[in-house]
């Protein structure tokens, strides 16, 4: 007991012997919200703390997705984020799920929110956690390959407000403000943003292709210690780049999206019981105009296309955790209702009304997870999750099961994580009900994977190696349709390929912490994608990241080089970005940032025209991330 008292005394004496400024810095570091929210055993984790986001001058989520392990940031034909993009699908990243605090941001048709939020401005976000490689089922109703968790700023850490304005290349500009406070146990956060993103234009076939977008956003939350109400509204309007149709270069494309999310989260019984409710309403208006008619089926050529898509989703999620000896058992019952309507389509020619095979989907989900702490160094996670996708009319229900086994070893320096998983992904509505290529008989695509992560930490360095192997089958691809509905179908349909695809990947990372505020990060990533099918190309890709963050006096300096090599659609390129932030005073900061400064980043090639035999005859190639310079200022009050 005397030893204990002695250690306590030394600890307390040392702590109180430090200067007040050093203690404040230590306190700031220790209190990072990511330390409270992140779950190391939930998967292969990448954390961007508030300090990282601020010093890297992260303006939008794509600023961090562009250097994500194994992926290269890409966008779909409408200029929307789609990091697993498979041309000419409108969206392929259904398994990449985005959460804001406790709630998933999604669109009912695509099943994932990355399409709307993958390039969201980050000015109201405190920190980001990205779980790669089939993470824990604890996160949500449906399975995922990658989970992006965004956490908003809180009244507890941000009492007061901030106004911010930026001006960038081509006249891009952004203005936003937030204010937050806590009074009598009730905290609130209010944020409003106006963002006008302007990009370069691209001449093709005598037309001008554009990707400009204006976005207005409101986010507000009201909470007590155990309950929180959130409202998130977004209105976005601009160009839809190439549009979703293949066959002719559009003269003009427009997209307008309204998104509303109302959600509540509640904690009971010392946080062991959690209830989350969320309602989402989205509407999309698309307009395409063509000088040269686009052939949408063997019998139909059109010059105008107007579509209104309406979507709703309601999610209820109840989770209970029990601590029994060295077991932490968590179970969750979850329900999601989706409603969608794609039938409101108008062309410049009359066609029979479009029929949609189903309008509603009910998803019932149940998961059980047991975390067994064998001792203070060894942790085992066992998880099982079951989903039932129930459809109306004569469309068959889909029943899928997920398994996951995790083992984590940790001591003061070494951490080893091993994850084995088998997951199934039900086809999302846009692949089954699309009048252009939908197939109601699609099967769930399945993935089996093993992932090993090993990291070694010293006071000045963090070294990490990640190895992964996976097999997948029933991947949906576009194939010739033997019985096409000739009104809108060009002769292609989505179908599962029965051959297996294997994936090998490896990543090595090294972080050198020069001092409290300076660090160098190095990453090398390798991905081998081998296909036994002629329909999917095999590929080997590499990407490398060198990132340096420095603070000198009142300057925060950021340098980042991302090198892409071997990506089949994006090719080879490098993206060098740099930025400087200067603290004019404690409350007034200015910053300047250059993105893809040498205009040498990756490019994406989009299919524009296909001949009658299905051969690609024309492509549109544009930079994924354009060269852009931004000047900004922010005032805190």
């Amino acid at each position: 007991m005397r030893t204990l008292l002695f250690i306590s005394f030394i600890f307390v004496s040392l702590s109180y012997g430090e200067g007040i400024e050093t203690l404040l810095n230590t306190y700031e570091r220790e209190s990072e919200l990511s330390k409270k929210t992140k779950d190391e055993s939930a998967g292969n984790l990448i954390v961007y703390t508030r300090d990282d986001l601020e010093r890297m001058q992260v303006e939008s989520l794509k600023d961090i997705l562009k250097s994500l392990r194994l992926f290269s940031y890409s966008e779909n034909r409408l200029g929307q984020p789609d990091i697993l993009n498979q041309e000419p699908f409108t969206y392929f990243s259904k398994s990449v799920r985005v959460y804001l605090n406790e709630h998933e941001l999604l669109t009912a048709i695509t099943g994932s929110g990355l399409i709307l939020f993958g390039d969201m401005e980050m000015d109201f976000i405190d920190h980001v956690e990205i779980y790669v490689g089939f993470p824990s089922f604890d996160f949500g109703v449906e399975p995922a390959t990658t989970v992006i968790r965004l956490y908003s700023k809180t009244a507890e850490h941000d009492e007061g407000g901030r106004v911010k304005a930026t001006l960038g290349s081509y006249g891009s500009n952004k203005q936003n403000a937030y204010y937050t406070n806590k009074e009598n146990g009730i905290s609130y956060f209010i944020y409003a943003n106006r963002n006008d993103v302007k990009k370069d234009t691209y001449a093709h076939d005598g037309e001008t292709l554009k990707r400009d977008l204006k976005t207005n956003r409101f986010y507000g939350s009201l909470g007590t210690q155990n309950h929180k109400l959130e409202l998130h509204v977004m209105e976005t309007k601009g160009d839809a780049f190439l549009g979703s149709l293949v066959g002719s270069t559009p003269e003009n494309t427009e997209i307008e999206i309204s998104f509303l999310n109302l959600s509540t989260s509640s904690k009971f019984l010392n946080d062991s019981l959690k209830l989350n409710l969320s309602y989402i309403n989205t509407s999309n208006n698309l307009e395409y105009r063509y000088n040269t008619p686009v052939q949408v089926s063997p019998i139909l050529a059109i010059t105008t296309f107007d579509q209104k898509i309406k979507e709703q989703a309601f999610t209820a999620n109840l989770r209970k955790e029990w601590k029994l000896s060295n077991h932490t058992v968590t179970t969750g019952i979850e329900y999601r209702y989706k409603n969608f309507d794609l039938t409101d389509v108008e062309f410049n020619v009359l066609i029979p009304p479009i029929e949609q095979i189903y309008y509603n989907e009910n998803i019932y989900s149940l998961f059980l997870e047991d975390s067994i702490a064998i001792d203070e160094n060894h942790l085992i996670n066992l998880s099982v999750m079951q989903q039932l996708y129930q459809h109306e009319k004569n469309v068959e229900d889909i029943d899928i099961t997920q398994f996951r086994l995790g083992y984590t070893y940790s001591n003061n320096e070494w951490v080893s994580k091993t994850f084995l998983s088998r997951q199934e992904f039900a086809p999302e509505p846009y692949m089954t009900i699309s009048p252009q290529y939908g197939n109601e008989n699609l099967l769930a695509d399945t993935y089996a994977s093993v992932l090993q992560e090993l990291s070694y930490t010293t006071p000045k360095t963090i070294s990490k190696i990640i190895l992964a192997y996976g097999k997948s089958k029933n991947i949906p691809i576009l194939v010739p349709d033997t019985e096409p509905d000739i009104t809108l179908n060009k002769g292609l349909i989505v179908a599962n390929i029965d051959k297996k695809i294997t994936i090998h990947s490896a990543a090595a990372e090294f972080t050198l912490l020069f001092s409290q505020k300076d660090k160098l990060e190095l990453q090398a990533n390798y991905l081998h994608y081998s296909s036994l099918s002629h329909d999917i190309k095999s590929s080997i890709t590499y990407n490398y990241v060198i990132r340096m963050l420095n603070s000198i006096s009142k300057f925060d300096i950021f340098n980042e080089l991302v090198i892409y090599d071997g990506f089949s659609d994006t090719g080879t390129g490098y993206n060098y970005s740099t930025g400087i932030k200067y603290q004019v005073s404690k409350d007034f900061h200015i910053n300047v940032k250059g993105e893809n400064i040498f205009d040498s980043g990756s490019e994406w090639s989009y299919i524009n025209k296909v001949d009658l035999s299905g051969n690609i005859t024309d492509k549109v190639v544009v930079p994924t991330i354009e060269r852009q310079f931004t000047f900004g200022m922010e005032y805190l009050f």
Partner: protein
């Protein structure tokens, strides 16, 4: 047994890192205000870090006997203690002229702020290391 207790203590220390550091900061501030190594402090109503880790402070339940009041809310401070030295934990507490200073989160960072006039009124002279946190 001693080994097990030490282990428990170390694990608790790691998990409660930010509370312990917050407590160390409150201890330094209190010592600088009261000039006492073991000052008596009344907590109104909930200051988690000090409840868990009082350090050298003596937490008491009678505010009249306290050298310092550390408050998490300005509501319902006992009338008889409203003229005592009060230290806040939110920026908004500084709106009350009886509060000499506060240790609070703002703009994502922890801050300490004292008002010189209020310190003088209470005849408080802080240690030189706190000079940069005094607004004149």
């Amino acid at each position: 047994m001693i080994k097990a207790i030490i282990l428990c203590f170390l694990i608790t220390t790691v998990y409660a890192g930010d509370d312990k550091t917050a407590s160390a900061i409150f201890n330094m501030i209190t010592k600088s205000i009261t000039k006492k190594s073991h000052a008596t402090v009344y907590l109104h109503t909930q200051v988690n870090a000090l409840e868990k880790h009082p350090g050298n402070l003596q937490i008491i339940k009678d505010c009249k006997k306290a050298d310092l009041l550390i408050v998490s809310t300005m509501d319902k401070i006992p009338k008889e203690c409203q003229q005592k030295i009060i230290f806040g934990t939110r920026y908004s507490h500084l709106k009350n002229s009886n509060v000499v200073g506060a240790f609070f989160w703002q703009k994502g960072r922890p801050n300490i702020l004292f008002y010189e006039k209020r310190l003088k009124k209470k005849n408080i002279k802080l240690a030189p290391s706190f000079e940069k946190y005094i607004e004149k």
